[in-house]
Symmetry: C2
Subunit: 248 residues, 2 copies
């Protein structure tokens, strides 16, 4: 049986302020939680789960986490879940220390200028992980990394990419590696081949990149439009650009 | 002042059954509604809007739609809106007749096998529109086109792409144009160049493509993975594939 205080505490982690102060975050659903546990990407504090999830846990993991697993009934999981359809398990993980000044040499890095939609942001993290991008640099107004919707859509990729937040204008101005702005009026992406090192900058979903940032970029790239759609989704654009520019 | 019946009727359009029987659908927000009106892509039945939206409407449109515009107060828009944050305007459009048997020759067409997430589906429609894809063929279990979340994420692209639903196994078996399955164990996408005609098939978000459908395809293509993410988002994968295969 969950105490009122526990329910309150878990519910509070839906809010950024309380995630920040506790350095914790929530992940839900069998697939995501199991992947995060397997990968050992984040330290797990507590697991709240229905019996059917606990029964399917591999013996070694069940033993390792035994003191941190709490068996719930359906109605209890409903109380603490942030999902419209609670899905067997909710786990609380510790946020991890990111490297604030990684080495960007000989690497392609992704830069996000005010990405707002948590689903888009999570998808961008997954794309970065797919293409072996080690670092994502976010503007200060980009969605928070541990927002439950980011966590859900990034899947376990969240633990494999170094994600930092900073003032992008200052950051980009200080970089000597070539910077590529994804815009609507640049050179066709097809003209570019794989790059050894670069910063690739993706702008806000509605407004695109800030002018001051575009001015700091050596190259402007554009995904050629054949039809009539006004824009491409930011994550889709990032996927297309990375597929073209990352060396296989 | 909105009557109770009007409120009930508009709310009912959140349900597929009532969209089907009335042949109507809902679009919300100034950007989407204005684009749909401008494009004349769908016949507009009624527009429910706050004064600030109505005031900014171009004179010719204001006159043309005058008998169909109803001015609301904020609390009334909140009652009929399906959005968590109602946004100035809600419009009801008539669904349009799709062409059930278009000509696929000399064209690239997109085939969706059980895409479930409305946001993904809407994004796929927008991607198709960006790359000039005229036809999307959906399995019978793919999300409904006029689901409000599909409408919101497809933007006005919904009106520019011909979208049909059918039994994919029968459909694909009858086609002589080459079929390309997007899978995890095919030939690298980089080995392919622009195609003149093709069916490109994207599978369900969690399960991928059905085996029976893969068996009907002449080619299997895969987006090379450099990092460790388990999968790419279905819409992102479609965007990458179309960028590589559509002739510019």
């Amino acid at each position: 049986m969950l105490s009122k205080n526990t329910v309150k505490y878990i519910q509070s982690l839906q809010q950024k302020k309380l995630r920040d102060s506790s350095h914790c975050f929530i992940a839900e659903g069998p697939k995501l939680v199991t992947e995060l546990l397997k990968g050992g990407l984040f330290t797990c504090r507590e697991i709240y789960a229905l019996p059917q999830w606990i029964q399917l846990l591999p013996a070694d993991m069940a033993e390792f986490y035994s003191s941190r697993i709490f068996e719930l009934e359906d109605f209890e999981l409903e109380k603490i879940s942030g999902l419209s359809t609670p899905n067997q398990v909710l786990a609380i993980f510790m946020q991890k220390e990111m490297d604030p000044s990684p080495d960007f040499k000989n690497k392609i890095s992704l830069v996000l200028d005010d990405i707002q939609d948590p689903g888009n942001f999570g998808t961008l993290v997954r794309i970065a992980d797919w293409f072996g991008i080690e670092n994502i640099i976010c503007s200060l107004h980009t969605t928070e990394l541990y927002n439950p919707k980011v966590v859900q859509s990034s899947m376990a990729s969240l633990g494999r990419v170094n994600i930092i937040y900073c003032n992008l204008e200052g950051f980009l101005a200080a970089q000597k590696i070539k910077k590529y702005a994804a815009v609507l009026d640049g050179k066709p992406l097809h003209n570019f081949t794989a790059l050894k090192e670069a910063f690739i900058i993706i702008g806000n979903e509605a407004k695109g990149m800030k002018k001051e940032l575009i001015a700091l970029c050596e190259e402007k790239i554009t995904i050629s439009r054949v039809g009539q759609a006004e824009s491409l989704n930011a994550a889709v654009a990032a996927g297309i650009i990375l597929h073209q520019l990352v060396n296989k």
